[in-house]
Amino acid sequence: MSVNLTIGKAINAGLRRAMEADPKVLVMGEDVGRLGGVFRVTDQLHKDFGGDRVIDTPLAESGIVGTAIGLALRGYRPVCEIQFDGFFFPATNQTFTQLAKMRRRSAGALSVPVVLRIPYGGGIGAVEHHSESPEAYFAHTAGLRVVTVANAVDAYWMIQQAIASQDPVVFFEPKRRYYDKADVDTGASLESAMPMRSARVARPGGDLTLLAYGPMVKTALQAAEADTDHSIEVIDLRSISPVDYPTVEESVRRTGRLVIAHEAPVSGGVGGEIAARITESCFYHLESPVIRVGAFDTPYPQSRLEEHYLPDLDRILDGVDRAFAY
């Protein structure tokens, strides 16, 4: 059964399906109840599953993640909505010192299958703290899985996979793409969906590998189409931690060139780590250095400046040109 869904609606449908399948799945966060969340991603869930399973929490992010850990220890599978990327930080202690480490601390006796849903990224003309891309902090923390989606199909399946995972999963949602639509085969089984740990070749090509994730995948695909001189392969990373290196390496060994694009600042970013790894593993296949295209090492600027701050199609093509200059 194919349904045309936006990314936001696809996550909503995925949450609903997970809640129907497993009574232990809970949704919790600020305004996730009657309002359905500020982006309406939890729309109607409160009405259909009730306040015990769709919990409007006090406005305290550490409290949300900390109590979610406790609920998980009791056998529940809480899905926490962090309202905006920039509001996550009060929950860093619970996420980094507790959620990420509980399993190893207990030598496997404890599982904390908590999902943190975080709308992230810019491009919506918002005030400060509503446009950030903090994924590198999470990717640097062992014990967390970090994934992000670029289309409604992945949104529908990967939220269910994240909930089913025994590991804590940070699920980044590309907020400026919430309204992008795609046909989703909601009749298929969860087992038949592509695993969330896998990267996906979103567009095949032979001359250069362009790697992106989340909101930048769309921009990367547009850039690849716009460059009529080269055959550009676009990889949608999907899993930021762990990275599916075999898929990336296979591509780079064919193309010899790699450009990595993300909204987050370049320094200390996810792209830098991938660049270093690929340089080690594919050194003799590379025709050029790995090029990173990302934001500047500044705080996210006022929204009237964000079009200059965020990598766009031209900035990506500039990166592509630099790679071909070698």
């Binding site: 406790g70 009791r74 010192t97 190893r104 006796a109």
Partner: protein, 371 residues
């Protein structure tokens, strides 16, 4: 009951005076048999011996660190003996008395402070979560767990409740306030057990709060009470009542056990730099074990044989712990990678394989007479 004494200090709930005299309290009746009293005494003595041995083992280099519970035995033993098997307790890192009562072998604690494990026991088996080192973090875990108990419909007269242990320093953490609030808003079956041992490393209570800690609860909408934390009966009776109220749907309660950390914060600490010896002497007069012993003797609940037996048992326990501690094996180097993730992680599997090869390369070199 008035909130304050004539001196402006809040009243303590006290059932057993420092002289060992029993006092009835209208709100907290003590229902206890002679056998249970002897059991409490045994607990107090044995867990103090665990502590003494652990400090000595640290001094001998067998442990990396130890956080002594000296002086806090009554607060921990009394409250933990108030729990039922299916209740859940969330400790900080000094709750050796609680661990003792919940059946966690002292060896497991030594294992953690030796650096062999990060805790190691199965929390479900013992009804005791692992030690939490980041101050106050466990208050939220306990609250969330209690919300789960509610959702399971596991409350009620014969149901379950949750208790969380933390210190005076932890009341300054935002997480503790958030836990109070989440618990209150959800009417969660959780008892907040604060051991105010007067010192958060070097900081006294006046650096943490302007009001007595137990009064924090009122602002969140649930009751708080201060008890004599060196009185094992008060700890038992008040915790019993608080847990039963929580089980029966009356929501959270804060118990501030007013006690004293007679030792250092940890074996790395030097309290002579920040507190005077006279203070320690004052608290020695309120020792939790001496007062229970005085009570037992005054009431003839046990004779000299009993005290000798417990002492002998403590000696045997100490000897066993020394042997067990020294024979704890170092973990395998590849344990570094153990249970970081539940599900396959090719990136980490690769690192593990590379490290295994690296380690093996030394073994090969050794066989050939290399380094």
């Amino acid at each position: 009951m008035s909130d304050n004494t004539a001196h402006g200090e809040p009243e303590l709930v006290q059932l057993l005076t420092p002289d060992g005299e029993l006092r009835d309290h209208p709100d907290y009746p003590l229902e206890i048999s002679a056998e249970e009293i002897r059991g409490l005494y045994r607990d107090l003595v044995l867990v103090r011996r665990v502590d003494t041995e652990a400090v000595a083992l640290q001094r001998q280099g067998e442990l990396g660190l130890w956080a002594s519970l000296l002086g806090q035995e009554a607060a921990q033993i009394g409250s933990a003996r108030a729990l039922r098997p299916h209740d859940m307790a969330f400790p900080s890192y000094r709750e050796h008395g609680v661990a003792w009562v919940r059946g966690v072998a002292p060896k497991e604690l030594l294992s953690m402070f030796r650096g062999v494990s990060n805790g190691g026991w199965d929390p479900a088996q013992h009804g005791l979560h692992l030690y939490t080192i980041v101050i106050g973090s466990q208050t939220l875990h306990a609250t969330g767990y209690a919300m789960g108990v509610q959702r399971d419909g596991a409350t009620g007269e014969d149901g379950s409740a949750v208790i969380v242990y933390f210190g005076d320093g932890a009341t300054s953490q935002g997480d503790t306030s958030e836990a109070f609030n989440f618990a209150a808003v959800n009417n969660a079956p959780v008892v907040f057990f604060c051991q105010n041992n007067q010192w958060a490393i070097s900081e006294p209570p006046e650096r943490q709060a302007r009001v007595p800690l137990y009064r924090r609860a009122a602002g969140f909408g649930f009751p708080g009470v201060r008890i004599d934390g060196n009185d094992v009966f008060a700890s038992l009776a008040v915790t019993r009542k608080a847990m039963q109220q929580a089980r029966e749907g009356q929501g959270p309660m804060l118990i501030e056990a007013f006690t004293y950390r007679m030792g250092a914060h940890t074996t790395n600490d030097d309290p002579t730099r920040y507190r005077v010896a006279a203070e320690l002497e004052e608290w020695k007069a309120k020792d939790p074990i001496l007062r229970l012993r005085a009570h037992i003797q005054a009431r003839g609940i046990a004779g000299d044989d009993f005290f000798t037996e417990v002492e002998t048992e403590a000696d045997r326990l100490g000897e066993r712990l020394r042997t067990e501690c020294r024979s704890l094996p170092d973990p395998d180097p590849l344990d570094i990678f153990h249970e970081v993730y539940a599900e396959p992680n090719t990136q980490l599997d690769l690192q593990r394989a590379e490290f295994a090869d690296y380690l093996a390369s030394f073994e090969d070199a050794g066989a050939e007479g290399g380094r």
